[in-house]
């Protein structure tokens, strides 16, 4: 059982953090370099952060970057820890963590569906949720839903409508 501050101290000591932030009670977010993410997650997993809730991805189009967020939780510390890293938007490639958490395989496939990020080492990158999608991945910020909908689907015509 560590408190938030003890945890931050520990992480500062053992990991090469880019930044660390105490968001609120029982919530901490840290940022790691690309190369150190897998080893960092490995370290955290061996320090009771065994629960991988999910992997989120955010498209920061203005910075030309994707941000990957790994949400971890420790049942001992009762702290929710978000581990973040940023990758280049053009390259859109990252390493898989399926050897640490098998379930990440599907989270990564999901991110591949919606953001088009490829994960090296994850051999199955088929479409999971979408089917026959041949536009730019839908969750990217430059994908315009309205335009796509106007093009693909027909709106119902009502009487008295233009």
């Amino acid at each position: 059982m560590r408190s938030e501050n003890e945890l931050i101290e520990l992480l500062n000591r053992d990991l090469n953090l880019l930044s660390v932030k105490k968001l609120r009670k029982q919530n901490i977010s840290i940022r790691l370099e690309n190369e150190e993410l897998v080893s960092g997650l490995n370290y955290l997993k061996s320090h009771s952060y065994i629960h991988l809730a999910t992997i989120s991805c955010v498209d920061w189009i203005e910075d030309n970057q994707f941000e990957l967020i790994y949400h971890l939780f420790s049942y001992e510390d009762k702290i929710s820890l978000s581990v973040k890293t940023k990758i280049n938007r053009q390259k859109s490639r990252f390493v898989t963590i399926k050897n640490l958490w098998g379930v990440a395989k599907y989270y990564e496939r999901d991110i591949h569906d919606f953001f088009g990020i490829k994960f090296t080492g994850n051999d199955n990158m088929d479409e999971l949720i979408l089917e026959n999608w041949n536009e730019i991945p839908p969750m990217r910020k430059d994908f315009k839903t309205r335009q796509y909908v106007d093009k693909k689907y027909d709106w119902r015509q009502y009487h008295g409508q233009e």
Binding site: E131, N132, T145, V149, K152, Y153, D154, W155, R156
Partner: protein, 177 residues
């Protein structure tokens, strides 16, 4: 569209029978399916009206499209619809099937069900209450009795139009019987 129904005693008997026994395909395509269990079970009990669930498309008469249809489901719905035996009826269920409803600007749901398969009846609401569903079934029965529920005939007649619309959204649709 010529909906005029020819007065034919034999056809009348057939309609009368069909109206009184409807098997509804148990296929939950969307969130509207959550109001089907109450409709089917003790409180509202649609079996009073001779409507019962059927397990497979071959046995079913009614295809209920319970809510929004993603394109992935639309493909399965088309297969399912084509597996069903005539006469078959389609009920669009909830606002999403009428004009997209809540998901009017979603990239993955269709906005208008009757472009892709013929719909005999729509039930509005998000989501329709069990009473509305029962009312819808009763309306459908009326339509069957008067011979107006002829979507399946329309589908056969205007097959090419439907096919074109389906392929616009889905790409190729493989058809198997």
């Amino acid at each position: 569209m010529n909906n005029k129904y020819e007065s034919n005693k034999w056809q009348e008997v057939i309609n009368w029978v069909q109206k009184r026994s409807l098997f509804m395909l148990h296929y939950c395509t969307g969130c509207g399916a959550i109001e089907l269990p109450p409709t089917m079970t003790s409180r509202y009990d649609m079996s009073r009206f001779g409507i019962g669930p059927a397990a497979t498309p071959r046995q079913a008469d009614i295809l209920l499209i319970t809510g929004y249809l993603s394109t992935k489901t639309l493909r399965r719905v088309i297969y399912t619809y084509e597996q069903m035996q005539d006469p078959k009826f389609v009920m669009g269920f909830g606002s999403c099937t009428i004009n997209g409803g809540m998901y009017w600007d979603s990239y993955n749901t269709i906005k208008q069900l009757d472009k892709y398969i013929p719909v005999d009846l729509y039930i509005a609401g998000c989501m329709p209450r069990p009473e509305a569903i029962l009312e819808g079934f009763l309306k459908l029965k009326e339509k069957i009795e008067t011979g107006n529920a002829d979507g399946y005939k329309k589908y056969n007649k205007e097959y090419e139009t439907y096919k074109k619309n389906q392929e616009k959204v889905l790409g190729e649709v493989k058809r198997r019987q």
